[in-house]
Subunit: 316 residues, 2 copies
């Protein structure tokens, strides 16, 4: 399989590690073990936002080291970094870099979506390189990004372009895991000359299928994937049929209530085609553990990731 195409790289990692685990790196400062926080807040007493960012980075590195052989991909949610301003963005960038150094693929969970030159700017910053004078460099260095589709294809095209040029991937929101996802996504669309009557998220799925058709890797999967929540298992089965070549990024497993059984429908018959995300239940596993203390948060995370890997493998 191609060592360049994002989907091929991901499928290869899934086969090698026998895992479909995606670890969501969504740090909450108050949940980071005190021994880490204290160190950085003593060092940067006058710069709390720098201290917070450095504490998060140390915490993340510990997690990455622990899960690198169990997870195939990590997904830092940029909101939890951006909230600390420029220092937080540096921490996000360093986290992405460290994960890649440790052999993990990365998803920038940024849900960007805009048009024209704005979408191009996002796409280059996350998936490509930004040029300033003679200098051209990666900014976020992500292998893939989540994208919001409200603006239609204008907002998608620049990302597809960067995916093709740089061997990167994207996951378009199709059916999200949250309770009110139906407000817009489940609206029932009238029959037209082209289409049967169906919910809006079905139409979105058909777009995703067509947007990705021009860049399918040797694995049979495209650079354009889809976000499909574990909390709507019957919809996932419908979506799997509508997007046979799309890799599903599946949130909602664990803390949000989705079980291994709920995610089965996101996979193709060969047991491939989806990655399943868990954030809190892995990163902060130590909090609920009787076996591990805060000092051993990384070991607790590793055990939780292994448990998740095996839980999902048992139903595929």
């Amino acid at each position: 399989m191609s060592k360049f195409h994002f989907a091929d790289r991901l499928i290869e990692a899934i086969k090698t590690k026998k895992s479909v685990v995606c670890v969501g790196l969504d740090p909450r400062l108050d949940k980071i073990p005190e021994f880490i926080r204290d160190k950085h807040f003593k060092k940067h007493a006058k710069f709390p936002f720098l201290a917070a960012s450095e504490a998060i980075l140390e915490f993340n590195k510990g997690l990455i080291d622990a899960v690198k052989d169990v997870a195939v991909i990590v997904k830092p949610q940029i909101a939890f970094y951006e909230m600390f301003g420029a220092e937080g963005i540096s921490c996000f960038i360093e986290t992405m870099k460290y994960a890649r150094e440790k052999g993990l693929l990365t998803i920038a969970d940024a849900k960007r979506g805009d048009i024209g030159t704005t979408a191009e700017a996002y796409a280059k910053a996350f998936l490509g390189k930004v040029k300033v004078g003679d200098n051209e460099q990666e900014i976020f260095g992500a292998d893939s990004i989540t994208v919001a589709p409200y603006l239609g294809y204008d907002g998608i095209k620049p990302f597809v372009q960067e995916c093709k040029v740089n061997g990167k991937g994207m996951f378009v929101l199709v059916k999200t895991s949250n309770r009110s996802s139906g407000d817009l996504q489940d609206l029932f669309v009238e029959k037209t000359e082209k289409n049967a009557a169906q919910p809006a998220f079905h139409i979105m799925a058909q777009y995703v299928d067509s947007w990705g058709a021009e860049d399918v890797g040797e694995s049979g999967y495209s650079c354009v994937g889809a976000v499909v929540g574990a909390t709507y298992p019957s919809q996932a089965v419908e979506l799997r049929k509508l997007m046979p070549n799309a890799i599903f990024l599946v949130p909602g497993y664990g803390a949000q209530g989705g079980t291994a059984k709920d995610v089965v429908g996101c996979f193709n018959k060969d047991g491939l085609g989806a990655i399943v995300n868990s954030s809190r239940e892995i990163c902060f596993a130590y909090e609920k553990s009787e076996k591990y203390s805060a000092e051993n948060y990384a070991e607790a995370a590793k055990e939780a990731a292994e448990k998740m890997r095996d839980d999902i493998a048992s139903v595929l």
Copy 2:
């Protein structure tokens, strides 16, 4: 009128300045006058991304000084800052701060949209304060933000909450100005027990109306506004009826082809209820001017903003 509520503050500024002009601060490095670029690239020869960010900040400050009595609000598009990494984010923050110091209201054009604690993190970072230990501070210090609605109310609620607590505002994407906006927004939704058959963006408009109903200011306008493109004038007329209390943020005037006549439908009969954005045609007015050189880019921008103000006033 309340000096706290976002809509009241905006309507007050519109009445005082007799202007509905929003200036989009979307810097493109290659369009920033050479004399500004050279200065910063000489100073930071080894740090091109810092140099770029400082050049942009100087350019923006010149624009803000020039348009502060003509425009009511400025709208930096965060993509054009984020693309330079942490330095770019610092530049974005400094731009927002400078605009507010000069008496301008601000929109962070970030089109954020996520769920639960993630949306809370975004809302606090852009519209509220972030707490770290005993320290609590504004990060982006925006008066308002653009928000993407694909995830439904879960993604909206945390922003409404911050708006209410802090006297801030938000603009939800309803009908965007781009060519493919109809891919999703124009899908025609079947008749239900509650609703007539109608396009999806009408339903989104009804959501916006209801989401904002709980926080209407003395001006009669709500903290929840809507993005409605100037490029779809007949749809704007329909939307004005569906969202009587929402302030419309109207992109698409000028460079994207919208005229003063096209935006009329975005306003209520009293000539209020909308702000109209122009980016390129104001910020880079000097490029098309025979009267102004690059050194006088700020004067060129001021004249372009005045022309736009008068152009729209002539039809209201």
